[in-house]
């Protein structure tokens, strides 16, 4: 079967983000960008299915500015077979991304779409669910265990109280949790090989998708700063402070 994996270019997870002084956005100039960590897990999941002989082709897709090519190439270096970039300089929100993905699914006809459960920049946790809805497919979200069982995906999901196992009929959309796997390291020869793998570029217009944002961001602000408190010399002082000063015990 064919699998579509969607990846997103985001500010690296180790970077302490700064809000622009005009409050219009978060500063991205000269900031390290990386693949969204959840999306690496998604590619690894697809790779393991390919290595198990279940998946034949892995298509890595991304949406956004031209530089998103880097994230697709990275995915191809991990092991994707080919890439598709939907290029646009406009702001993309989850509903638009889901519509673009739907258009790609109709074009590519995969049996499975695997995406990260959320992007670490917008923290929306929406795209996979929206895509499943638009396609009328079943969804397996926050997946921490995955096995294929003929015409269904047997998944274990992370839920608030523990774990839940479901059988999701194919075709389906899965969104992966960090616990699903440990993504492999990319080897240098594979980075070289990835440069030769096909990468197609499309536009939202070519796919016939209206990407007008529905949410308008009025401003972005830093959170109220928590002041560092005091260091206490010993346990006795700590308990006294918690009892008499903070009054929380």
């Amino acid at each position: 079967m064919k699998v579509l994996v969607a990846v997103k270019r985001v500010i690296d997870y180790n970077v302490k983000v700064r809000v622009k002084t005009d409050k219009s956005a978060v500063e991205t100039a000269n900031v390290k960008m990386s693949q969204n960590p959840f999306d690496e897990v998604a590619i690894e999941a697809a790779m393991r299915l390919q290595e198990a002989g279940i998946v034949k082709e892995i298509v890595i897709v991304s949406m956004g500015v031209k530089d998103c090519q880097e994230q697709i190439r990275y995915g191809l270096a991990i092991g994707g077979d080919r890439g598709i970039l939907v290029e646009t300089n406009s702001e993309l929100q989850p509903l638009s991304v889901a519509k673009l993905l739907k258009a790609l699914v109709e074009k590519e006809k995969p049996q499975l779409v695997i995406v990260g459960k959320q992007a670490i920049d917008d923290d929306a946790n929406q795209t996979g669910q929206m895509l499943a809805a638009l396609l009328g497919w079943g969804q397996g979200t926050f997946v921490s265990k995955l096995e294929m069982d003929g015409a269904a995906a047997k998944i274990t999901r992370e839920i608030d109280g523990g774990l839940e196992s479901l059988s999701v009929k194919l075709p389906a959309v899965l969104t992966v949790d960090l616990r699903l796997n440990q993504p492999r390291n990319v080897k240098l020869p594979n980075i070289m090989k990835a440069k030769k793998k096909p990468l197609e570029t499309l536009t939202p217009e070519q796919l016939g998708v209206d990407i007008t944002p529905r949410l308008v961001t009025l401003k972005i602000e830093e959170p109220a700063k928590r002041k560092a408190g005091i260091k206490v010399p010993d346990v006795k002082t700590l308990v006294a402070k918690l009892k008499n000063e903070a009054k929380v015990i």
Partner: protein, 312 residues
């Protein structure tokens, strides 16, 4: 102009986050708040919801189909009711996060995820970048589908109201997913997201045995919930449902005590709203000391038992 709240429950009791979500709904200054209860043999839950002051009507869809809250089946019922509402709200729990984007896409509207404040009827605040920035967003959609960060809104009282309960016919079975099994962590401790005191352990605890031996006596003494960092969960010391942070649970207790926790961005995202933060760590450079109200630079293996003893 009214609000529909998708209530979470386990077929016998209403989930606490629902009362906080109702509070958020009252801030929309809308005149009517309805609560939808979907489940199997859950009439008692519908009755509980009807007692919440401020609720106009409880819609009760009872069918075997809804026993396990599968998003495909829930979303199709919600979408059928949506035309009567201007807002559809749910707590930003794993269930709300699972179902609501599906509802939003079927209605062709955006979802506003995990709001932390209501500015006006169409403008909301929500955290981005692991809580390192907050975006004020305005929704242009006719129906606003919203998930609510329950910890930042006070719970409304659970008693005193007298809403009517109205039966709603179940939708068709989509047959897209099947429930197989569930493995819920059992604990006598308070629920992590609702606890007044939370003790969290990090990599410094070094093993599952130490984690238990060091943290449990302290948690018992303070009637606290126990939480953990991702490192600890990944190492298998505790189950994943105890993870606090950007991808785990967001908590806002009166007192949070971080033990052997460095304070990575992703963990701090889950504790920044705690009233008082205490850190016990032997590394005085650990980032957690930058946000801790009280920091103790000490070896946790001696400091925590001492703290437990000191609390008498």
């Amino acid at each position: 102009m009214s609000v529909l709240i998708i209530a979470e429950h386990n077929n016998t009791a209403l989930n606490g986050g629902v009362l906080n979500t109702i509070k958020a709904a009252t801030l929309l200054k809308d005149d009517a708040i309805d609560v939808l209860i979907m489940g199997k043999d859950c009439a008692a839950v519908a009755q509980t919801a009807a007692k919440v002051p401020g609720v106009r009507k409880v819609l009760h869809a009872d069918a075997p189909l809804y026993e396990h809250a599968l998003p495909e089946d829930m979303a199709s019922l919600i979408v059928g009711l949506a035309k009567n509402y201007q807002y559809i709200l749910a707590p930003a729990s794993t269930s709300g996060k699972n179902t609501m984007p599906r509802v939003a896409a079927l209605l062709d509207v955006a979802q506003v995820s995990e709001i932390t404040a209501v500015i006006s009827g169409d403008t909301f605040v929500r955290p981005i970048y692991a809580g390192n920035a907050f975006a004020t967003v305005q929704s242009k959609d006719p129906i606003k589908v919203i998930t609510v960060r329950a910890t930042v809104f006070d719970a409304v009282p659970a008693d005193g109201g007298n809403a009517t309960v109205e039966s709603v016919a179940a939708g068709a079975d989509t047959g897209l997913t099947k429930f197989v099994s569930q493995e819920l962590a059992k604990s006598d401790r308070p629920d992590l997201t609702a606890a007044k005191v939370v003790i969290a352990g990090g990599r410094g605890l070094s093993s599952a045995e130490q984690f238990k031996a060091i943290l449990e006596p302290l948690a018992t003494k303070l009637n606290a919930a126990i939480g953990a960092t991702r490192a600890v969960v990944d190492a298998g010391f505790v189950s994943n449902d105890l993870q606090i942070g950007q991808t785990g649970k967001v908590i806002a207790p009166e007192l949070y005590i971080g033990i052997g926790i460095s304070g990575a961005i992703q963990h701090v995202a889950g504790i920044a709203d705690s009233k008082v933060i205490v850190a016990i760590n032997k590394d005085e450079e650990a980032p957690i000391f930058q946000i801790a109200d009280y920091g103790l630079v000490a070896d946790l293996f001696t400091a925590v038992p001492e703290l437990t003893a000191e609390l008498g």
